[in-house]
Structures are given as structure tokens and as C-alpha cells.
């Protein structure tokens, strides 16, 4: 394997880590609250802007702003769930889809109104720095983003596996009615799950800011990738989101290298298409074609 190819693979996996974190939020919200949050990408956009402005106005490095944005987005997610989705919990699926799409429109247009359509990027201390052995140098921000994303996912996995609240989140995702009968306040669990899912995407926004520019529709691209990953990994599966993220990161990097990066979306969607035909439950999915 040539040096370049190795670098391509590493970069793909690193990007896959961030994709995984974004997808984890989406899959958690879907798996527990049963809401397909189309506005997930707009949450990412908002957190990128938040991180951008914190840097521009007060010089707070995006890696530091994670500490502010993570809790902020937890609360933001809870407010969205409480204010928008909880009132239509028992409404038909279509209403939930339209509520989510409505949220997309509102958030995108608010961003356009306040911050115009310009691409905005920042130059932090870590931008442009490289690490690694001679010949295999990789960008430091990508490396940090990957490490942070993986640690957050591990932490979340531990939380879901071992705490009462974590188990209640899983139980609610598996059988909401039975969870109610076990004394679990499922509405509260929905709020928490929505909060955690939003927090994940909020953190991902901060981690992306040193390597990517922000603009009002930046979320649309990432959310498409996230949907492919979530379906690939299996709807509602956290492990699936992680593995799926890495796979898509890799596919993206390799298709950019061998074919052309302009076709990378086409390549995901060919994968997506085959997946829907041959394995609609995804790699680790148990939620069948609901």
C-alpha cells in the first residue's frame, strides 16, 4: 500500500469518528423517542455557529467551548422535545415528520437571517498543525476530534449500560409500555434521550469547527451522511452508529481517492440503496421495517 493510501484510510477513519458521534445522537433519539429528527443537521449547524461566535467574540477555543455547548444543547434538546414533539407524541407519523421538517425550515432561515449565507471558518491554535510519524502526518484537529468523539461514545456506552437512567433509556426504547409498568417515567426518559442526542451533535459541531466552515445549510450535508450511517448500522443501535460511522468515513475517503470526491454522495446512496434492498435492518438492527 502506498503512503498516500494509508493516509487516506487514516483520514477517512478519523472523519468517520465525527460522523459516528453525529449519528449516535440521531439513532438514540430515534431508538428511544421514535422521532426521526430531520432537524438534527440544523442542530449541528447551530452548534457550529455557537462555537464560531464564542471564538470570534471571546476567543474561546472550540475545544473549550464544548464545555459550554454540551450542556447548552442538552437543555436545547429537552426544550425541543418538550415544546414540539411531546405534544404530538400520539399523533400520526406524518405529523411528527412535518414538525421536524418545519423545525429545519425555521432554524435554517433564522440562521440565514442573523448570519447571512456566508461561509465562515476560524483559525485556531490547532488549525494546520500536523502530528504523526514522518510521511504519515495527519491534521491535529482531526485527530483530536476523533479521540474526543470516541471517548464520548465510550462514556455514553458506559452510562447506558450501567446506570439506572441508562437502563431505563434502553428499556424505554425496547418496550415503552412495559417500561411504564416498571415505574419508569417515560416522558422524562424521552426528554433525557433527546437531550443526550442533541448534546452529542452539539459536541460534534464544536469538534468540526476547526476543520470545516459553517453556513446555514451545512447541516443538510451531514444529516444525509448520518441517515445513511444510522440505516447502515441499524436504526436505534449505538454500536451500529459507531461502526457505520467508521465505514462511511472510510468509503468517503477511498471513493475520493480512487474515483473522485465529487461522487462520494452518489457512492453512499448506492450503498444505501443496496442496503434497503438486501438488509433493511442494518448491521446491528433489531427494529425492523416499522
Amino acid at each position: 500500500m502506498s503512503e498516500i493510501l494509508i493516509k487516506v484510510v487514516i483520514n477517512g477513519l478519523l472523519m468517520g469518528g465525527i460522523y459516528a458521534l453525529i449519528s449516535l445522537g440521531l439513532t438514540l433519539i430515534f431508538g428511544v423517542v421514535r422521532i426521526v429528527n430531520f432537524a438534527h443537521g440544523e442542530f449541528l449547524m447551530l452548534s457550529m455557529y455557537a462555537s464560531y461566535w464564542l471564538f470570534q467574540l471571546w476567543g474561546i477555543d472550540p475545544y473549550v467551548s464544548v464545555l459550554i455547548i454540551a450542556p447548552l444543547f442538552f437543555v436545547f434538546g429537552m426544550i425541543v422535545q418538550r415544546g414540539i414533539f411531546q405534544p404530538i407524541l400520539n399523533a400520526p407519523e406524518v405529523s411528527k415528520i412535518f414538525a421536524a421538517i418545519g423545525l429545519v425550515m425555521v432554524l435554517q432561515n433564522l440562521a440565514l437571517l442573523f448570519w447571512k449565507g456566508d461561509y465562515r471558518a476560524i483559525k485556531t491554535i490547532s488549525s494546520g498543525l500536523l502530528i504523526g510519524p514522518e510521511g504519515f502526518m495527519i491534521g491535529l484537529p482531526r485527530f483530536i476530534a476523533f479521540l474526543a468523539a470516541v471517548s464520548i461514545m465510550l462514556g455514553l456506552y458506559f452510562f447506558i449500560k450501567n446506570t439506572y437512567t441508562g437502563k431505563a433509556i434502553r428499556a424505554t426504547g425496547q418496550d415503552q409500555g412495559a417500561a411504564l409498568l416498571m415505574g419508569i417515567n417515560t416522558k422524562r426518559i424521552f426528554l433525557i434521550a433527546f437531550g443526550i442526542g442533541s448534546s452529542c451533535v452539539g459536541i460534534a459541531g464544536c469538534l468540526l469547527m476547526p476543520i470545516y466552515s459553517v453556513f446555514p445549510t451545512v447541516g443538510a450535508y451531514f444529516v444525509l451522511v448520518a441517515f445513511v450511517i444510522v440505516v447502515l448500522g441499524g436504526l436505534g443501535s449505538m454500536l451500529g452508529a459507531f461502526i457505520g460511522g467508521l465505514i462511511i468515513g472510510l468509503v468517503e475517503a477511498l471513493s475520493g481517492y480512487f474515483i473522485s470526491s465529487t461522487y462520494k454522495e452518489a457512492i453512499y446512496f448506492i450503498i444505501f440503496w443496496f442496503l434497503l434492498i438486501y438488509k433493511p435492518t442494518g448491521l446491528f438492527g433489531s427494529v425492523s421495517q416499522e
Binding site: 437502563k167 425496547q174 418496550d175 412495559a178 409498568l181 416498571m182 415505574g183 417515567n185
Partner: protein, 234 residues
């Protein structure tokens, strides 16, 4: 202990329960029997707070329940084991039991209760690490009962615990229910298996088309001519 006073319940526009009144005294086994769609599960779900009655009242130890949320009701010690087990399929046997102690009042004694339940159902102890979905029907019912007991119920409601089980396991299930009562938990049992459930019941209610049509001691109901004709086939 539990007193249901004239509740009426609707599914949307359709009334499914009319004027249901029943009592369960401390330490009793009370059975509600009746055919499919008579309203048995609806009655239990209304007591559990999943459904709201449009009329009538429910009291548990003198406290009004029919305006409370399901989690608050469980916290008071009124626990339902739902029809069809409803285990968490992607969780292990142990995790299913642990989630049973979710109510605050049950958490403190978690390890103690767990030991008691694993002694009661040794088969669960052998399969602790397995996924709940990998168990046989009978084992799943044991797990469902174990999970309910982990919540330290004062009154345990069981919805069709014998449904879909082999005759030998059915017998065992009813024996376990008797055991649970003898250890101090009051039982409200809903069953289509009229014979078995009235045999172990102190008192019984017969539900038909959303109304209570008969109530008596378990023994007297077993002797009842109309009931025999309708449910026992002789």
C-alpha cells in the same frame, strides 16, 4: 387495600368498561375471569394508570389513584406484570431483573431481593447473562414474574400469566402465585384459565362485555351453573 368504585373507560369514542367496582383485601388472591375482549386487561391498565377512567374512582390504601401517573402508582407498590411477558428483549436476564428495581422504594434492597428471586427461580440464575429473548416461554414467564417482584410490590397484578404455556408450566405458574401470596404480597389475577385461577382465588369477579356480571368466593364461582356452562363446557 385496593378499591375500584364504578369506573367507566373509553377507547376514543367507544366505551369499553361500565361501572366496574371491585375490592382486593390485604393478603387476598382475587381473580378476574372472563372471555377474550371482556375488558380484563383494560381494567388492569386503568388501575395501573395507563388508561384514565372517565367516571368512578380508584383508591389504594385510602389514596386516590385514578389521577396519578403510572410511575407514581408503581412507586406506591402497585405493580403489574403485563400480558405476553413484555420483557426487554435486548437486555440480559439480569438486566431485566435489575430494571425491576427502578422504583426508588425498591432500589435500596436490590441485592437482597435479587438473591431471593434467583433462589425462587434457579433457572434464571443459570441464564443470568443471556438475552431475555433467548429464553423459552416458561422461562420468560418466570423472568416476567421475577422482574415484577423486584419492584417489591405490595399488590401484584398479573395479566394472563398462563397464556401460551405448556400445561405443566401453567400448573407451576399458579403454584408460584400462591407462594408469592403466602410471602405477604396481595394478588390481583386476570385469567382466561377460569378453572385454575378460581381454584387458587379467595374471591373472583366475572367480567363480560365490560361489565361485572358475577362476584363471589372462588369456590362458589367454580360451582356456579351459568359459569360452568359458559366457561368450563359442562
Amino acid at each position: 387495600m385496593l378499591e375500584v368504585k364504578g369506573i367507566g373507560v373509553f377507547y376514543g369514542e367507544v366505551q369499553v368498561l361500565w361501572e366496574i367496582s371491585l375490592k382486593v383485601g390485604e393478603g387476598e388472591i382475587v381473580s378476574i375471569v372472563g372471555s377474550n375482549a371482556a375488558g380484563k386487561t383494560t381494567t388492569l391498565n386503568t388501575i395501573s394508570g395507563i388508561l384514565r377512567p372517565t367516571s368512578g374512582e380508584i383508591f389504594f390504601e385510602g389514596i386516590r389513584l385514578d389521577r396519578e401517573t403510572p410511575d407514581r402508582i408503581v412507586e406506591r407498590g402497585l405493580v403489574q406484570i403485563p400480558e405476553g411477558r413484555r420483557l426487554f428483549p435486548e437486555m440480559t436476564v439480569l438486566e431485566n431483573l435489575e430494571i425491576g428495581t427502578y422504583p426508588q422504594r425498591a432500589r435500596g434492597k436490590r441485592d437482597q431481593t435479587l438473591k431471593k428471586i434467583l433462589d425462587l427461580f434457579p433457572i434464571l440464575s443459570d441464564r443470568k447473562k443471556q438475552l431475555a429473548s433467548s429464553l423459552s416461554g416458561g422461562q420468560q414467564q418466570m423472568l416476567a414474574i421475577g422482574r415484577g417482584l423486584m419492584a417489591q410490590p405490595r399488590l401484584l397484578m398479573l395479566d394472563e400469566p398462563s397464556l401460551g404455556l405448556a400445561p405443566l408450566i401453567v400448573k407451576k405458574t399458579f403454584e408460584i402465585i400462591k407462594d408469592i401470596r403466602s410471602q405477604g404480597t396481595t394478588i390481583l389475577l386476570v385469567e382466561q384459565n377460569v378453572m385454575h385461577s378460581l381454584q387458587i382465588a379467595d374471591r373472583g369477579y366475572v367480567l363480560e362485555n365490560g361489565r361485572i356480571v358475577l362476584e363471589n368466593t372462588g369456590k362458589a364461582l367454580l360451582e356456579d351453573k351459568n359459569l360452568k356452562k359458559a366457561y368450563l363446557g359442562n
